[in-house]
């Protein structure tokens, strides 16, 4: 095993464009390798991209997909991921804005014992529609998938659609899976659709669960913070920050994306 490599790729240029580029990227993680790959998607226009990832036996790979589009961007992005025997994937999506963004992650296993942690953080502003879908195919024994997507919505017609499809095949004995989508609604006029779906074709799973929530800002939390002298804007920021804190800690990226999310929130308060 080699040391951890850090590779950062900016996949599209930052200038607005009107054509529809198609971007295809293949990533192969060698047996027992360990690496972190950060993919940055900035800019505007229309974009259609696909990333194919193969993790060989025992590989450990972290992929961070940061969608930092301009508000008017329209983008479609697909990740197809194959996880080898005992390999570990951590896939994190951070979607900060965009007019209509579709982000799809599909995972299958090419050997037993693989593990996938799929994390998502998004912030939908007024008129923005962010779609995230996750497809996981537990087609090998003793595989694990943990899905945790969290988003905040603020502004008129801010919208999130989330789909989580987990299939446990007859071969998928000993599967451990949990998927969760949580939404924090910061203003009126937002819309949240969350569809977690679980299909189980074997009786022998370790765990199979899902949950989806969409909640308004908790006024009691706001009251508690304000009763300690903290201004409403600051209190909201703390609560939103708290909402994302554990997931961002797990992503563990060095960049200050939290700052960006905070900034978005403060703008709307």
């Amino acid at each position: 095993m080699s040391g951890i490599e850090y590779l950062s790729i900016t996949t599209v240029d930052t200038e607005p464009r009107t054509l529809m580029p198609f971007d295809h990227l293949s990533v192969y993680a060698k047996p027992n390798s360990a690496a972190t790959l950060r993919l940055l998607y900035p800019g505007s226009g229309r974009f259609n991209g696909e990333v194919e990832i193969d993790l060989a036996e025992g590989a450990r790979l972290t992929i961070i997909s940061i969608q930092d589009w301009r508000p008017e961007a329209v983008a479609q992005l697909r990740y197809r991921i194959n996880i080898g025997k005992d390999a570990e994937l951590r896939h994190a999506v951070i979607t900060l804005q965009g007019q209509w963004i579709q982000h799809e992650t599909a995972v299958t296993y090419t050997g037993p014992g693989g593990r996938a942690e799929l994390l998502g953080v998004y912030f939908a502003g007024a008129g923005q529609h962010l779609q995230h879908s996750v497809y996981i195919d537990h087609n090998q024994p003793n595989t694990t998938s943990l899905v945790d997507y969290r988003g905040a919505l603020q502004g008129e017609n801010a919208r999130s659609s989330w789909v989580g499809e987990v299939s446990i095949r007859p071969e998928g004995i000993g599967t451990d899976t949990y998927e969760s989508n949580k939404n924090l609604i910061l203003s009126d006029g937002c819309r949240v659709d969350a569809v977690p779906n679980l299909e189980i074709e074997t009786g022998e799973v370790r765990r199979a669960g899902h949950s989806a929530t969409a909640g308004r800002f908790d006024d009691e939390q706001l009251f508690y913070l304000m009763s300690r002298g903290i201004s409403p804007a600051e209190a909201r920021r703390l609560v939103v920050q708290g909402f994302f804190a554990s997931i961002l800690a797990r992503i563990g990226d060095s960049e200050d994306w939290m700052e960006r999310i905070n900034a978005s929130v403060v703008l709307g308060v």
Binding site: D218, D219, E220, Q221, F223, Y224, L225, M226, S227, R228, G229, I230, S231, P232, E234, A235, L238, V239, Q241, G242, F243, F244, A245, S246
Partner: protein, 253 residues
């Protein structure tokens, strides 16, 4: 100088309309005084506490709240706190993902109008936690999340210490505390009051806390009003007689 509550009428906002709870509360707490309020469940003690702090669920329909001459009624929750009012809550709220350390620093900054001095601040926080028999690791935990009932109460007193308000209302801070914690919390409250110029309002069901914290005045609270006042001996009498004597009379209104 005082926390002055004048003929306070308060309704709670419910789905079916406003429901009057407080029916003319009069109370004056001067610096250095300890007041205790005792009263049956549902009589409106927490409503009084929340109304003073400015909780949006409660509407002040008439009356006044003056803190050292400043009218609090039109003020937001945070403004009231910055004026020097503190409420230790009966049910402290959990705030996932916000660490106690971050919360305390942000609150201190807000109350003082300037960031606390880095070097001394961490020491103060650790000292206050230790005083309340809370481990140092609490600073890194999320605010009240997963705290036991007693730990939440002790965390309220940590805040009382660090924010050091001019007037503090403690809503059943003694409920749910074990014998040792009750002593620890009482000593903490006494240390706060020790300055001699702080006003304290204790809402409680039990005289046991009043053995540690000596009240100058005891008020009996029934059906949204103070129906009797006395010195510390009134609490002892209540322990024996209960609220029977006043409950019958409250039908009058």
């Amino acid at each position: 100088m005082s926390l002055l509550i004048k003929d306070l009428h308060v309704s709670v906002v419910t789905e079916t309309g406003d429901k009057p709870i407080l029916r003319g509360v009069n109370l004056e707490i001067r610096p250095g005084e300890v007041h205790a309020i005792m009263g049956p469940n549902g009589s409106g003690k927490s409503t009084l506490a929340y109304s003073l702090a400015g909780h949006p669920k409660y509407t002040i329909t008439s009356g006044a709240i003056l803190l050292d001459g400043v009218d609090l009624v039109g003020m937001s929750v945070d403004e009231r706190a910055r004026q020097g009012l503190f409420l230790a809550m009966q049910y402290p709220v959990e705030i996932p993902g916000v660490s106690v350390a971050n919360f305390l620093r942000t609150a201190k900054h807000a109350i003082d109008g300037q960031a606390p001095a880095l070097r001394t601040w961490v020491k103060q926080v650790n000292q206050s936690l230790a005083d309340m028999a809370l481990d140092k690791e609490f600073a890194a935990r999320s605010v009240n999340e997963g705290f036991s009932g007693g730990e939440k109460k002790r965390h309220e007193i940590v805040q009382l210490h660090l924010l050091n308000p001019r007037y503090a209302i403690l809503d059943e801070t003694d409920s749910g505390l074990d014998i040792d914690a009750l002593r620890v919390v009482s000593e903490g409250v006494n240390r706060y009051a020790e300055a001699g110029d702080r006003g304290l309002l204790l809402i409680t069901h039990y005289t046991r806390i009043l053995r540690y914290i000596k009240p100058d005045f005891v008020h009996v609270f029934v059906d949204g009003q103070i129906v009797e006042q006395g010195d510390a001996s009134l609490a002892e009498r209540l322990e024996e007689t209960g609220y029977e004597a006043w409950l019958g009379g409250s039908d009058a209104n």
